[in-house]
Symmetry: C2
């Protein structure tokens, strides 16, 4: 099966969580909107009157005739197929639950620079972003990451399900990468209490296909258009 | 199977989407935290060192030995079991995708009164809430509801999957109820362009078990602690 991933072409964003799973599994896929004419094709799929089940927003994945949207749902669908999730219902539901918690976390990370809505320019909400980010650094970031540290402590380790890495571990890697980019100071302090999450990050970074991917031009660099943005004034 | 629903006892909140599905199906369930000692039991399940797979936040559902968190995942799990979703993978994924879009919408609805984070008092973010809510009314509410109106136009109707109601239709009913409570003026204007969504709302409201539930003490009234709050200054 060759997959088609549809996502904004110039950012890692939410699409990156899907890319990491596809890359780690060595799956065949097209990053459609990064090819000539692909962005137009993506927009048409959301707006086109022909599609009976249009997705609301990217990322979405085409797998044969299926079109699947929402990062967590795409990963739920791909998990067992890419051998990045077990096949038992209980384990699949547990991984999905963890990924949905990461989805909530990502929305809050995004809102540190866009607290009043994505329609505003950052320049017009800077004061609000500072207040949002302060609460985020003091309360939300430790709460979410502390939860995942606890989940890892309860698994047999080193990964969330134990010995085998899952797509949730790949996503945890990406969250740590992004937070280190966006909030280097806050993360430096936070990581002292998060040894298990840091260990997951390091193990994922060292996986052969992930290493190759990160060094390739397929990996888009962090920038100030995506979810994770480096605005020093938001790092305290 | 008797289900145990765990959710905050004094608000409809996200738990209400699960309640509506259980009630519509006539399923046997306990609303645990609304019983004596239940709230303590709920908190213990999130914090207790014994549970290997603790949920991050309510709502969560206990079904036998399984504990399932996140509204959309609970409904995905319950859907086919309660005959509120078909059994084919494509249809189940499509419903889940729609429910996850409603999840995103609900977060934005919540943030109209808490734009800087749930840790702030409303009184301390009133000006920010006004700016957030204005953009929400002008851009976000029409975008989300317009999408669902389009989905309904593309289905054979009257429901999102066609002739049979699904848990997504029950959730759409609740979103309309909540928005009418929180933003009566904005909704009065918006509904002129949303005849299909209003029709889903009316059909759901007229289902026998839903009617009985809404008239029962099990239905908590809207109030200013939940997702949908009536602050007239946010309604434009």
């Amino acid at each position: 099966m060759r997959y088609q991933l549809y996502y904004w072409p110039k950012i890692q964003g939410r699409g990156e969580f899907v890319r990491l799973a596809l890359e780690d599994a060595g799956a065949a896929y097209d990053d459609v909107a990064r090819r000539p004419g692909g962005l137009e094709r993506m927009m048409a799929m959301m707006e086109n009157a022909r599609d009976k089940r249009p997705p609301f927003a990217p990322p979405f994945l085409k797998a044969g005739r299926l079109v699947i949207a929402h990062t967590a749902e795409i990963l739920y669908f791909l998990g067992a197929r890419l051998r990045l999730a077990p096949r038992t219902e209980a384990d699949r539901l547990w991984l999905h639950q963890l990924q949905l918690t990461l989805t909530d976390f990502l929305k809050e990370i995004h809102d540190t620079h866009h607290p009043l809505g994505g329609e505003f320019y950052y320049e017009d909400v800077k004061a609000e972003a500072r207040r949002y980010a302060e609460n985020f650094r003091q309360n939300r970031l430790p709460k979410y990451l502390g939860y995942f540290e606890r989940v890892l402590a309860k698994s047999a380790g080193p990964f969330v399900l134990g010995r085998r890495a899952s797509y949730v571990d790949l996503s945890l890697f990406q969250v740590v990468e992004g937070l280190r980019y966006a909030f280097p100071e806050a993360m430096r302090r936070a990581e002292r209490k998060l040894p298990r999450i840091v260990a997951v990050h390091d193990r994922v970074a060292d996986r052969e296909r992930i290493r190759a991917y990160l060094a390739s031009p397929r990996r888009i660099a962090f920038n100030e258009m995506g979810i994770f943005r480096r605005y020093p004034e938001l790092d305290g």
